[in-house]
């Protein structure tokens, strides 16, 4: 029942598939090609409608990260999360949020100037908490949570979620 492995090493590509195998492969290939063609058509035709604008996507991500940052600070002060866990998390939140203020004004779907200015003000205030989160009792963590929650709410609303 076992095949000679040495034979395969010496004669690469020598064993041919039988006609039944070829039939299965051709059937799969044809089926796969038709499905892919139809899916590509569907995607091209409706691509603009089933995805968010670039601005909505960025605003949604920013709002979500601010919200999670607020919860992280809260959990630390409620004794649910270690300071080490929070430190590590904030390093990643910073990376997520970095450069969003310069990115958003140039994105498709950007709102009117007044709304954008308001959002960017909230972003800058909230970023102070992201860059220097209050993880001990010597600082005012509640006001940081309030700032982050306010910014989160505004960004989530702007994203249309």
């Amino acid at each position: 029942m076992e095949k000679s492995y040495q034979e395969a090493i010496k004669l690469p590509g020598d064993k041919k598939m039988n006609s039944k195998d070829c039939g299965t492969s051709s059937f799969l290939k044809a089926r796969a090609l038709s499905v892919s063609f139809l899916l590509c058509l569907l995607l091209i035709a409706s691509g603009c409608q089933f995805t968010q604008s670039a601005f909505a996507k960025t605003a949604g991500n920013v709002g979500a990260t601010f919200s999670v940052a607020a919860t992280t600070i809260q959990y630390v002060h409620q004794g649910k999360l270690s300071v080490a866990y929070a430190h590590s998390s904030f390093e990643n939140y910073q990376r997520q949020l970095q450069g969003a203020d310069s990115q958003m004004p140039n994105e498709a779907g950007v709102p009117d100037k007044q709304t954008l200015t308001h959002l960017l003000d909230l972003y800058r205030t909230a970023m102070q908490a992201i860059n220097n989160p209050c993880l001990n009792s010597t600082c005012d963590w509640r006001s940081q949570v309030a700032q982050l929650s306010q910014a989160s709410k505004a960004f989530v609303e702007a994203s249309g979620s």
């Binding site: 949604g60 999670v68 992280t72 866990y85």
Partner: protein, 407 residues
Amino acid sequence: MKQWLSLALGIVTATGGFLDAGTVATSGEAGAKFGLGLVWAVLVATFAIIVLVEMIGRFTAVSKKAYAEAIRENFGFRFFLLPLISEIIAESLLLAAELGGMAIALSLITGISWHLLFPVVALLIFAMAWRAPFDWIENAPALLGLASLAFVAGVIWLGGPSKDILPTLWKPDIKQGDLADYLYLVAAILGATISPYLLYFYSSGAREEGWTTRSLLLNRVTAFVGMGFGSLCSLALVFLGAMVLQPMNSQANTLGEIGLPMAKAFGTWGALLFAVALFATCMGAALEVVLGVSYCVAQGFGWEWGEDKKPAEAARFNLVIVIILIIAVLIGLIGIDPLQLAVFASTIIALVLPLSLLPFLVLMNDKQYLGDKTNGRFTNLAMLAILLIAFVVAIVSLPLQIVTGGG
């Protein structure tokens, strides 16, 4: 007694081996963004991986050949290059994500930047893959990975999903403009679960352990119960995301966020358990990826291979381990977030799945290899369904990746 011990270890191995950075990332994101609306995708992926693992174990136990050996032998060297090259590209990305996942897990425990920990975990994987016997590689991360069962406890502790969330199970709440994200996550979930490296690793592991037809029961139990347990943990992450992350508008953009529900349930111990589970599952997956690719290359080229052999006895096999790790470290040093990299790698894996799975259909029906243990009608249909799913996922993944900008 020994057989039962093997069964227990097989289940433990599969439990630890199911979850990795990709499944943690996609499950957490799925729950946070769409509630329980992607539970069906996890179930489909679970069914697929159970069928595949059972088949590959049966193939190896009966034919006494590893999967890569058989592809090379049956289809020739030129054809073998297709799955080999796609495997190297996709798995290098995934390996970088797994190393990043390990580094982030250590960072969540220690507070030290994960960038500094990245080379440390790469060295740890190198040391284990280079010298540890196969039993250690199989069982050490798997036993630690049992910490992921705490996710299930977390769901129970938090009281399960509320009445508001439950309907999303059969009627996904997809808001306008979110359909692309939804489909992209379907692709990523399937790609993260149905990973070809698992087939190469499992098949070669069965050879290393000298499986015969007497191991078929062990194989079946490992596939069904082990993968079932793994899936349970993955589903628990979806539930935790839906119950805790979605109400706070989180999109699970970072791996640390996915641990917050565990902190809500069990406080600092819960967060610690999440970090330990993340570390263990990523370590298990990193070892499986490194060895899976090395097995694939060595078997395809007809080199000596074997984790229990000394490096000098299987020099080229061990050289591949070093090279694949260096490639992954270089990708990791670019600084891409491990969660984003894990989801991206899962999409790429979904894209190349047909290349790895198509030869499998032919091999599983070859009486020269399997005698009377070839696939039955049900398993053939299941395999065809998996190939169709894999292909659809692959073809949908790439444009969605472009349309959604990486999810």
